[in-house]
Structures are given as C-alpha cells and as structure tokens.
C-alpha cells in the first residue's frame, strides 16, 4: 500500500504532458513522469520516494512508437521491455532487455522507466549507447533530438520538466556483430554485478557497462585500450580495466575483486567471441 495521496494525470500529447508538468511544479507538487510504475510504486510503498503528482506518458502516441521508418528504428519511451523483446526489431537490444527484472515486471517496466529511474543500472541504455542512436526529449521549451553520446553521461541528462519521448537507432546497426555478458550474484533474476554490451563496428569495439561501478558508462579511453590489437588480449583487457572512468564498486552483491575477475573473464570472452580467437 502507498500510504500517501498523489494526483494522477494521463496526457494525450507531448505538449499537454510538459504543460501539466509546469503547472504541477508551480503548485509545488514535485511531479514525476510515469511509465510502467514498477519502480515508482515499489519505492512509494516503501516511502523511499514521495510525490504529489505523477504524469503517465503511456497515452502519448510518440511514446508508444515502435517501428522502422526512414532507415531508423524508433522505440518509444513507454514501450514495455516485453514489447521490445517480442517485436525484436533489434536483436542485440532484445538480448540486453531480456534479463532485466522478471517476466511479470517486464510486462510493465518501460524503456523510459528503466533508463530514467533511480535504480543505478539502466541496462536498456547499454546497446543504445554503443550505436549512433539519438534520443528525443521533450520539455516546456519544446522538443529536441540529441545524439545519445551527448544526452547520456551515466544518466540521461534531462532538463527540468523534460521527459524522454523516444530513441532512434540507425537500422543498419542491426547487422553489427555484438556481445553481451551479464553476470549476477547467484540467481539470474537479480541486478547485474557486471553487464557488458559491445558491438564491433569497422573492426573496433564499442562497449558500455552497467553494474560494474556506481553508474553505467561508456568510455572512449577504455575502448582505445581494448582496440590496441597489437597487444595480446589479456593485456588489452587489463589495460582497459585500469582505465575505467569510475571505480569498481563493492556492495552486498559482490566485492570489487570479484567484479574485476568477472570483468576480465567476460572481456576476454568478448574478444574471443568477436575477433574469432579461441581462448
């Protein structure tokens, strides 16, 4: 049970949503945008989160868009992970989404919620970070389209009142060789203690990480080390790990030593897998 009252809005258009936000914010209701609610409901039940109003974006058609158009794959922020997995426009994306939460939760959990929520994993962003995708963001000042590398730095960089509408992925990335390794503490339905998503594009690795550090990231420096093909794989891996932009974290799921060991193993597997070298 959520023991506090809050208002619920379900706008039909982007503009209505942003105006609603502005209005509720002016009334000091600390509004939040609402997708599937899996995080908001559970956090509100525990009273870790409180709000005076939620704005449900599921009725906005742009947020439910799920199609290929003009050489782009468009994924609306209000799509559930199950919808993304089952339609499977982008198999790499589906693969990364499938181990997030459990099936019942994925039937509700939205792309936007996974990326913009408070939980630090945001795994659905990983495959989108390593291809040239663009995010569409809408706010009181209008709609803007931003390359993912600019829009995401450990979190989606939203201005006040802005929400994530959709993401556009060039269709040709679907054919890129990819690699994903997600490891959990013990049982598969759990948060990742490491999650690596990588593609090989023009014979170079592009990699994004979650679970390893406090927040998900992609790092040019790490990729530069991994892509130094003149060195043996183990050295490329250990150099890359030494250059992670955030420290490897330690929590009740795993020690940093174990995370590092899994990272080494997984990155070596990635090189073997995508470069066709047998270990």
């Amino acid at each position: 049970m959520i023991p506090f009252d809050f208002q619920y809005y379900r706008p039909d258009t982007i503009e209505e949503a942003t105006m609603t936000f502005k209005d509720l914010d002016a009334k000091k209701l600390s509004p939040i945008y609402y997708g599937g609610g899996t995080e908001i409901i559970t956090q509100a039940r525990k009273q870790v989160l409180s709000t005076g109003a939620v704005i449900d974006i599921k009725n906005i058609s742009e947020c439910k868009m799920h199609e290929e158009s003009d050489g782009l794959l468009i994924f609306g922020a209000a799509l559930t992970l199950t919808e993304i997995i089952e339609k499977n426009l982008f198999p790499f994306f589906s693969k990364v989404c499938r181990p997030i939460a459990d099936h019942t939760v994925r039937n509700k959990l939205t792309l936007g919620g996974n990326i913009c929520g408070k939980l630090p994993y945001r795994e659905a962003i990983l495959p989108l970070l390593v291809v040239d995708s663009k995010v569409v963001l809408a706010g009181p000042e209008g709609i803007r389209e931003v390359p993912i590398t600019k829009a995401f730095d450990k979190r989606l960089l939203l201005k006040k009142g802005e929400f994530f509408v959709q993401i556009k992925v060039p269709k040709d990335v679907v054919s890129l060789p990819y690699f994903n390794r997600r490891r959990e503490k013990h049982t598969s339905v759990d948060y990742p203690i490491i999650n690596i998503a990588a593609v090989k594009s023009e014979s170079k690795f592009k990699m994004a990480f979650s679970g390893v550090s406090a927040l998900p990231f992609r790092s040019q420096e790490v990729e530069d080390f991994i892509n130094k093909k003149e060195l043996p794989p183990e050295e490329r891996v250990s150099n890359a790990i030494n250059k992670l932009p955030l420290p490897i974290k330690r929590d009740q799921w795993a020690s940093s030593e174990y995370r590092k060991a899994l990272l080494e193993k997984s990155m070596n597997e990635m090189i073997a897998d995508l470069e066709g070298v047998s270990l």
Binding site: M1, P3, Q47, R183, H186, T187, S188, V189, Q252, K265
Partner: protein, 775 residues
C-alpha cells in the same frame, strides 16, 4: 498394497483447484465494517536504549484511534521462555523489532501516521555473532534472564548470553578418541535467515462485550496460541477461540506465538474492537522470527577400517534477540546430534545463544538441517582423510535397528533401511561413474551425498483428535485440529478414513477452517507428526463410527453387530453380503417405514497420544524423546566453473524410508519441494548484515530464494519399511527432505574445487574466493 482401497492411490489434493485458480481465501482477504487496522514502527537499530518516543503528533493524525508503545504493555511473553515484550520496552534488541503500534480506521491512515512517531535511541554495544556473544565481557542482551519464566526443559545460564544448553554424554569420549586412528576437526557456519512463506503473517483479534476473545490467525498452532494467551494474560482458556483457516505456507515460521499476543493487546486497547495486523513482506522477513543461524565445531574420529568411534560436537545456535522456538531447535539438534550414524562415544553441547540478530523460530528440519550440514561435511572430510569413498564410508556407519541414538534409546524395527536408501541414492546419482569428472579445462562435474534423519521434537504428551460426523447421503465430515499449511495432510486423512469405510476419499469432507472451540484438541501442525498422529486418531474415529453403524444396522437386520461389515457405502452380513442396509439409512438414525426412528446420528470420536516418551537427563541427555525416526539419503550433482566459482546444480535425488505411502504423488511432491527448499537454503539464503547489524536484504528484491527456472532435475524414491505404530504403517515425511541437502551440496562443491567449503550460503563468489584463497 494391492489390498488397499484408497491408501496408496494418488488422489488429487482436496484443495488443488481453489489454490491453483487463486480462489482460496486467506485471512487478509477479510475486510468488514468496523475493522481497524494496525501498523508497526520498527527499530532501525540492532541494540539501543529507547530514550524517548514521541507519539503526540501521531495520535492527532486523521483516522488514528490509538498509538501504543512498550510502556503500555509491561509484560514479557514467550513460547518456552517469557523473554519478549510485545513491543520493545526500554531497549531494542534487533533491527526490525516492533517498537510502536498505530491503530487507525484504515491501513493507509495507520501507515501514514507511522512517520509522525519520533523515537530517540542511544546505541548500545552490539553482539554480532554467537562466538562474540560467548566472550567473557560480551554485552548482555538480556540483563536478567533469571527473572524470566521458562519450562524445565530449557536451561538458561544467567549472567551470560546463553538461553539454553543441552548436553549429550554417550559412552566415554576420551577412550572413544583413543580408539581412533584418524581424527578430523572442522568448523562450520551459516547465518540466520527466513522461511519466506508466500503468505505473510496476519492476525485479527476481537474481544466481545462479555470478554470472549476471538483470534483469527495465520497459525500452525492454534491450540498453543490459545493456551499461551490464557497463561500469559490470565484469561480463562475457554473464553479464547483461535481460528486458523488454510495458511499460505508455514515451514515452522507460523508455529508458536506470532502476532497473536500483540494483536490481542491492541484490540484490548481500543475496547475490544476488531483489529487486523498484517506483516509487510519486510516485517515478515525481519521483525517476525526466521530461521536460526549456527556455528559448529566438530571433532570426529574413526578407526583405520573406517568405523566411526567418537564425536565431540559443539553447536552454537544463533537464536537472535529472543528465545522463541530457538531454545528447542538447539535441544532437538542435541538429541539427534550425530546424524544417522552409529557412534559409540558422543559428547555434545548444544547452546542457544542470544545475539542482536532477528530472532529465530522453528524452520523446516528443526535442528536437523542445521546439524546435518556440520555432520555431513565432517563425514566427507574424515572419509577423504582416511582415503575411503565417502558413500562407502556412510554405508559402513549408517545407523540400523539395534543401534543406539545419542540419547541411548535403542532403535527398533521401525527404523527403516538406511543402507538401502544410500545404495538407491547412489544409483540415482550414478555414483559409480565417479564423484568428480572433468568436463573441460575449467569445468568439472561433481557429486556429494548427505544423509538425513529426523524425529519430531515435541512434548511427551503430544496428541491429536478426529471427529467424524455424517451427512444424509452417508458422506463423512472430518474435523481435526490440524491446520492446512500447504502440506496436504487433509487429503491423506480423508484417504485413511476412506480406507476404513472402503469408500472414495471425495466422500470424506475435511473441515478446512480450524477453530479451537469446535476442533478436537491438537498440539500443533509441526514436527511432521500430523499424518502419523491425526492419522491414528482418524483410524480410531473410524472404528468408533463403524461400531455405531453396526449397532444401528444390527437392530434393523436382527443380527449380532459382530457379524456385520461396513464397506462400499453399505452395512452387511459378512457371510451373506447381499443382506444389508445402505449406510445412508443408518448414518443419522434409522427410520422404520411407519416413521419410528432409532439410535440417532453416528459421531465418530478418535484420539491419539504419543506413546512412552520421556524427557532427557540434563547432564547426559539420556531418555526417550523421539516418537519415530525417518531416515534417508540424498545426493546432489553440480557442474562448477573453476575460474569464477559459478555453478549449476544438475540433479538432486532422495531416497527416504517413509513406511506405507498414503498418497504417493503427494509424498513425492513434498520431498521434491523439500529438496528445492534445501538447495535454496544452502545456495542463496541468509541475512546480510552491515557493521551495525542492520539487515541489508530485508525484501525479496535482495533476499533471493530459488525460482522455478533454477531448479535442477529431481528424482525421488521411497522405501516402505512399515512404521509399526503408524497409520497403516506410515511415518512422517513433511520436513525431512531438506535435511541432507546443504551437506550434499557443499560436499559436491568442495569435491569439485578440491577445497573445503564449510560456510553457507554457497555463492559463486564464496567459491571463487576459496579457489583463490583470498580473504
């Protein structure tokens, strides 16, 4: 077996459809006008003095009827030892302990007002482990245990953090070890955790204007609740009625006294109005009691031929902040301390220790899953040191008829065939192909075995009763004090009665909602004794009803009652079966064609009380506390990645000697469920504590139990050595399947990596660390 009518058939359980379709109603499904809702404010500290509690804002909040704290209820309660205040009083002793309660018109109002209570604490030194609790200058969790009332079987040590010590002294331990050629010593441990029953605990209390008390509760033990409420609050016991509809999983966690005393007090505080208290999942995990933790030191010796000669055992149970059932778990572990092995010299000290952890109650296996982990690992370590195959070693030392238990009781013909269980388990797991096999450079498959034995830990006068009444169509209503907690005993009892009457078991309607005013007296639905004891009472009740049916029919048929037989819905002459009357004509009195009626309804009364049990000697443990033993062997096969310690459990098997099978499929599922629970216990479970002993995995996001997709292949076989005094030769099998699993799994994994894994849970990281030998 073929002579049976209903026994030995796998009839579908009576509650299957309601449960599978989600239509079964549980206590928290009941809402009615006037019902008040309670919510609890719980401690954020593991050990702290309560400096002040400010309830002034909460009491003014909308819908709030009352705000209660420990000051309002200055009593201590308990099951065996009265050491626990209903709400923390003076200080808190564990993280999650209820400190204040709010009663409001709605659940929302009660929960919202919790935030308005301010509590000021002053932190006290924390006792974070059993070994720490036993140190010379350890802080005392209970300053004065000598003031607590307790039953004589519990022996606390004032001035220490010891709530109970049970001693076993069998043979002479010094000369025992002198005979040993090989001796090992090892230590084992696992943390406390929880049962994670699907239904969180709920209780509703009401006090009528003339003082009758009705408690509706998710309890496995309605009669214990009734008697403890009467005892602790000086209420004439007949004025208390405890109702227990089917419960969504117990596993021991709903035995004893749970929320009932508090919710009774809450109702009393608002003039007896109905008050409902529902645990949140978090409170069910942490505030209410869970499973016990343990540290164990084992010294085990055998001859060079591989014969066990001596065992010196120290079991240190982490009972947490309050005694509850834990003081009896530690006692049960002493009584069965060696596991099912023939050991002539045994010395065991089993201690229940107070710590600042959530407190412990009964858990499936009740002391046995705990001791078996330590013993089964030790057996492997000893056999390996000796250089003997661990399965052969078990076969050689398995306890059989004529051997003595640690309490010096001689095992009788009912003991079952443990050596055959071992052989069958070995065959199922294909022990012959080898217990360690290389799969690839970095992967191995390995097998491990664990034996089990278990006897009920219960009072010597434990009893059960069954009442049979009849409907106009001669179908039978069966009333018992056993509670349906998912185990399916009702179906088995219906089969037992159906067997006596040679009718279909669906003609036997078991009353599902137990209430202590109408159900015959019963101890508790615990200790895997329901089938055995209520089964015997069901036979007794059937015999009683049959003799009444014969009496009425004998008048109608003008023959001696002894010439009659009751079967297939008729009462008829044994030697001339065509002459008889339908049972429905005599079940509720016979009516002659002219309207005259005779005899009246049949009411079958059946009872059973445990036979010849005694307590144990406080110095040596000698005595006969165990009603029956169920024995078995289990084995697990794993595949382990030697680089990162991750592993899959491929297969888990069990062969158990259960006596006559009443319902083979139900029995099979019961054991499969137990294997899964044992694996989950050993692989995943247990509380995680931070350095302030706060539980950091107090929800199901973080406290992971095994999910459906993660179960291995299960294989179960039964031996059927009859239990001479069991109903149709059956014995208990409800809990037993969990007992050998943690030992078997840790043995398999230890074998795989070639290093001992003596700490649960067996997470990949813990295995990786052992492989790497890093701290």
């Amino acid at each position: 077996m073929s002579n049976f009518h209903s026994i030995g058939t796998s009839v579908t359980r009576q509650d299957a459809q309601e449960k599978v379709t989600g239509r079964q109603r549980y206590i928290n499904d009941s809402h009615f006008p006037g019902l008040l809702y309670a919510a609890l404010k719980t401690s954020t500290h593991a050990h702290a003095r309560i400096k002040s509690i400010d309830t002034s804002k909460a009491i003014k909040a909308e819908g709030v009827q009352a705000v209660l704290t420990g000051e309002d209820f200055p009593v201590t309660l308990g099951l065996y030892m009265g050491d626990k205040p209903p709400l923390a009083h003076g200080k808190v002793r564990y993280y999650g302990e209820p400190v204040a309660a709010i009663i409001a018109n709605s659940e929302q109002e009660a929960k919202a007002a919790l935030n308005l209570i301010t509590i000021e604490y002053e932190e006290l030194p924390i006792v974070s482990s059993v070994r720490g609790a036993l140190e010379e200058n350890a802080p005392l969790i209970h300053e004065d245990i000598s003031k607590y009332k307790h039953i004589p079987a519990v022996i606390p040590e004032p001035g220490k953090n010891i709530s109970n010590r049970t001693k076993i002294r069998k043979g002479d331990i010094r000369s025992g070890f002198e005979k040993a050629d090989v001796i090992i010593e090892a230590s084992f441990s696992f943390p406390p955790g929880d049962h994670v029953a699907m239904e969180p605990r709920v209780a509703i209390a009401r006090i009528s204007s003339k003082g009758d008390i009705v408690i509706k509760s998710t309890t496995q033990a309605p009669f214990i609740v009734k008697s403890l409420l009467g005892y602790n609050f000086d209420i004439p016991i007949g004025k208390i009625n405890v109702e227990s509809p089917p419960v969504g999983g117990g596993f021991g966690g709903k035995a004893g006294l749970q929320l009932e005393a508090l919710v009774y007090l809450l109702s009393r505080s608002v003039g007896g109005r109905s008050v409902k208290l529902v645990n949140t999942r978090e409170q069910d995990l942490v505030s209410s009691p869970g499973h016990i933790g343990m540290d164990a030191d084992v010294k085990l010796g055998c001859t060079k031929e591989g014969e066990l000669v001596a065992a010196e055992l120290t079991y240190l149970f982490d009972g947490g902040a309050y005694a509850d059932y834990a003081v009896n778990v530690s006692r049960a572990a002493a009584i069965s301390c060696t596991g099912p092995y023939r050991i002539p010299s045994v010395s065991c000290d089993s201690l229940c220790v107070y710590t600042n952890h959530p407190f412990a109650t009964a858990y499936r296996g009740f002391g046995h899953i705990e001791l078996a982990f330590a013993i089964e690992r030790s057996i492997d370590i000893l056999a390996e040191k000796l250089g003997m195959d661990t399965m052969e070693f078990r076969l050689k030392n398995a306890i059989v008829e004529g051997d003595t238990s640690p309490t010096l009781h001689v095992l009788d013909a009912n003991t079952g065939d443990l050596p055959e269980c071992i052989r069958r388990a070995a065959t199922m797991i294909n022990w012959k192909e080898g217990s360690k096999l290389e799969v690839s450079a970095n992967k191995v498959r390995a097998k491990g075995m664990g034996l089990l034995w278990k006897s009920p830990a219960m009072p010597t006068n434990t009893d059960a009763g069954v009442i049979l009444t009849f409907n106009e169509d001669a179908s039978i209503n069966l009333q018992t004090g056993i509670v349906e907690i998912g185990q399916g005993t009702f179906t088995a009892l219906a089969q037992i009665v159906a067997e006596k009457f040679k009718i279909d078991s669906d003609k036997v309607h078991v009353v599902e909602d137990i209430n202590t005013k109408t159900a015959p007296h019963d101890w508790a639905t615990a200790a895997s004794r329901s089938l055995m004891m209520a089964g015997r009472a069901a036979i007794d009740a059937s015999n009683d009803a049959i003799s009444q049916l014969k009496r009425t029919a004998s008048i109608v048929l003008r023959c001696p009652p002894d010439d009659l037989e009751v079967a297939h819905g008729r009462v008829f002459l044994r030697d001339e079966p065509k002459i008889g009357v339908p049972m429905e004509d005599v079940a509720i009195g016979y009516v002659y064609p002219n309207g005259n009626a005779i005899e009246g309804q049949v009411i079958g009364r059946g009872r059973y009380i445990a036979r010849g049990l005694s307590g144990i000697d406080p110095e040596t443990g000698e005595g006969h506390p165990e009603l029956e033993w169920t024995l078995g062997a289990e084995a697990v096969e794993v595949e382990v990645d030697l680089i990162d310690g991750s592993y899959d459990v491929l297969k888990a098997v069990c062969c158990m000697d259960v006596g006559t099978l009443i319902n083979p499929k139900l029995a099979h599922r019961q054991v499969v469920g137990a294997l899964g629970m044992g694996l989950s216990f050993a692989r995943n479970e247990g509380f995680l504590f931070n350095n302030r002993e706060q539980v950091t995995n107090d929800d199901l996001r973080t406290h992971k139990i095994l999910r459906y997709g993660e179960h291995p292949e299960y294989q179960v076989e039964f031996l059927t050595t009859p239990q001479g005094d069991g109903p149709y030769g059956a014995r208990g099998l409800g809990e037993q399947g969990v007992v050998g699993v943690p030992g078997a799994l840790s043995n398999a994994l230890s074998r795989a990596i070639g290093k001992p894994l003596n700490v649960l849970p067996l997470t990949p990281e813990s295995i990786w660390k052992t492989i790497k030998e890093v701290e």
